[in-house]
């Protein structure tokens, strides 16, 4: 049987190559879609992106510059506006490093340890993604409000949590907790721990193994997680709205201040501040693309 088959077919390298090409073509045809299908799906997704993302973003800038550059710049002379920007930066500066540490620790646990309740931990990490931000804010009111669980004690000791910076930071930390952990965990899992084991065998201690081996490996996904976390921390509205008290010059973050300005018919200032958040979103997008590219490359290099 084998002999006959060999006789009927061209022999040698050419034959093999021809067979491979044929198989590839067949495979490509079977998995490729007809032209009209491609056109519809592409139009749909691009059209959707344009109408619901690009257009609104462009409108934000158009509204912000409606009265020109000078009016735009003058917005940032206002004390309440600069305070809201400053407050937002403060919140992000506290919340993002905290969540980087928490997120890394959680990712490390899930990727590297086997323990009872690991499934529960991975579920809990994602909890803030399913809980509505309003609820995230309300739980802190229930906990720290004057009539809350710890409220009376806190008020006696004159410790302000809600309607002040700590409450805003807490609710922001809650809402942005999953980002670093969720981005880093898969990468940690994919890369395994062989290199760490090698480093430890060669006499490195745990700390330097972490900084010199693990962090460089996951660098790009970590950066991506951090900027994602930062974008959300600066843009969070719902949870912060509940615990803020909306005091201008004190507890209004940028998103809350935008609402205040809009409600006071100050449209140019409202959209000027909004344009800063939109810029942040664009910047996040750029960094995200860069980091995914670098992360993919790192993974490919590791696989080779």
């Amino acid at each position: 049987m084998a002999g006959i088959a060999q006789l009927n077919l061209p022999s040698g390298e050419d034959a093999t190559r021809a067979r491979i090409i044929a198989r590839n073509q067949l495979a490509r045809r079977a998995t490729s879609d007809p032209f009209w299908m491609k056109a519809i799906v592409l139009t749909l997704s691009l059209g959707f992106l344009f109408v619901f993302f690009v257009l609104p973003l462009a409108l934000v800038f158009q509204e912000a510059f409606r009265k020109g550059w000078e009016a735009y710049l003058k917005v940032f002379d206002d004390r309440a506006t600069t305070h809201s920007i400053w407050l937002t930066l403060q919140v992000a500066l506290i919340a993002v490093p905290l969540n980087t540490v928490f997120g890394l620790a959680a990712a490390w646990c899930v990727a590297h340890f086997r323990f009872r309740g690991k499934q529960l931990l991975s579920v809990l990490i994602e909890l803030p993604l399913w809980v509505s931000p309003v609820v995230a804010g309300l739980i802190y009111v229930l906990l720290f409000g004057r009539q809350g669980l710890l409220g009376p004690w806190l008020f006696e000791k004159d410790i302000k949590i809600i309607f002040a910076l700590p409450g805003i930071v807490l609710s922001t930390v809650f809402v942005t907790f999953p980002f670093v952990a969720r981005v880093v965990t898969p990468q940690l899992q994919a890369l395994g721990r062989a290199e760490e084991e090698a480093a430890l065998t060669l006499g490195a201690n745990g700390w330097s193994t972490f900084w010199r081996v693990t962090v460089p490996k996951i660098k790009w996904s970590l950066i991506y997680g951090i900027i994602l976390c930062n974008a959300r921390a600066m843009g969070e509205f719902g949870a912060v709205s509940v615990v803020s008290g909306h005091i201008r010059n004190q507890t209004n973050t940028m998103p809350l201040h935008i609402e205040v300005l809009y409600n006071e018919y100050q449209f140019v200032p409202a959209f000027a501040v909004a344009s800063l958040l939109a810029l942040l979103a664009l910047l996040t997008l750029v960094i995200k693309s860069a980091t995914t590219w670098f992360a993919d490359r790192a993974l490919r290099n590791a696989a080779l």
Binding site: F144, D158, K160, F163, H246, N263
Partner: protein, 345 residues
């Protein structure tokens, strides 16, 4: 990957982490140690933003001229009841300036406001009054003149949520009052009238300003029911060419109760300042500002002076219609109350 040796990279990294930590600690302590000028926080309702901005700008030099420090008055605005809730939950407002007495009364059991707060300032502790008017689209295409037209004309009516907004509650009571006074004082008829009215309400915003935006900015509805001052402010801010005011023959009297949140002011050491601030609201200077913002000044002489701004209108009170706010809340606005019954769909 770069060519730097692992050792120097890790050194750099450690240094970076240390520096970031240091920087954030410094930032934090700097923000905590912010220079302390005396501050006053006024928690107010949604549509007084512009009024208190003007008042605060006047109060700062006034207080300084009296020998006080340069004071900073901060504002927080939202639906009146939502604001009261926040103060109850621990928002440290030194003074509250709401739009109905129940929101102040809410703070009494918690010891935040004295039970006799009504007697602490002139005019029943209400520096001005207001009422509910109608704002319609230019030319009044639906021909709305009075409360029954809101039901009959098939117009869409914008009213903020009566459960979270005093503004919405006054509109609700205004409609109830019209029926009581014009349909024979029958409660079942009044309930039916209000039910028909709210069947025409497409959105319930949580505060008065949100409702104004729904109507004026987002173009929803044919008529907006809101405070007299908000009606005029909307016209001034968003164009006299777009809207007309409709003054119904009868509407509801809305007062604007104010009070000191005593434990908070005591804690902040601002009791005197808070008292001076609220007293200041009754001076001729601020009464004039109130009139210019279309709030009906409590001072009868100043009200008379601005009579042209305030059309004659028969004003009924919540006490005569529903036996006071306390009872109204109990019967109409608590969970499962009349409002919930009529708004259930």
């Amino acid at each position: 990957m770069s060519n730097t040796s692992p050792a120097s990279r890790s050194l750099f990294r450690r240094d970076f982490v240390r520096r970031t930590l240091l920087a954030s600690t410094l930032l934090l302590s700097a923000s905590l140690a912010h220079a302390e000028e005396p501050k006053l926080l006024n928690s107010s309702y949604d549509v007084t933003r512009e009024f208190y901005k003007q008042v605060n700008d006047l109060f700062v030099p006034f207080w300084k001229a009296k020998g006080g420090a340069t004071v900073q008055v901060d504002q927080s605005h939202g639906g009146s009841s939502k604001q009261a809730r926040a103060v109850l939950d621990g928002l440290e407002a030194d003074v509250v300036t709401f739009n109905q007495s129940t929101d102040v009364d809410l703070l009494v059991p918690a010891g935040l406001v004295a039970a006799d707060w009504r007697t602490k300032f002139p005019h029943n502790a209400s520096p001005y009054t207001s009422t509910i008017l109608f704002l319609v689209r230019k030319g009044n295409p639906k021909g709305i003149k009075d409360w029954p037209d809101l039901v009959k004309s098939g117009a869409q009516v914008i009213i903020p949520n009566p459960k979270t907004s005093g503004n919405g509650r006054y509109s609700y009571v205004g409609a109830w009052a019209w029926s009581i006074k014009n349909e024979g004082g029958d409660e079942a008829k009044a309930k039916d009238f209000v039910k028909k009215l709210f069947a025409n309400v497409p959105v319930l915003d949580t505060g008065g300003r949100g409702a104004t935006n729904s109507f004026a900015q987002n173009g929803i509805g044919d008529v907006l029911l809101t405070f007299e001052n908000e009606v005029h402010l909307t016209i001034r801010e968003l164009g006299a060419d777009k809207f007309d005011v409709v003054v119904p023959p009868q509407s509801i009297l809305a007062d604007a109760p104010i009070a000191i949140v005593e434990p908070v002011a005591k804690k902040h050491g601002t009791t005197d300042l808070a008292k001076a601030y609220l007293d200041y609201l009754f001076t001729d200077e601020v009464q004039e500002v109130a009139a210019k913002n279309y709030f009906r000044p409590a001072n009868p002489e100043i009200l008379k002076k601005h009579a042209a701004s305030f059309p004659e209108i028969k004003l009924v009170t919540i006490d005569e219609i529903l036996g006071g706010w306390k009872k109204a809340l109990e019967v109409h606005f608590k969970d499962g109350g009349v409002f919930d019954q009529i708004y259930a769909r």
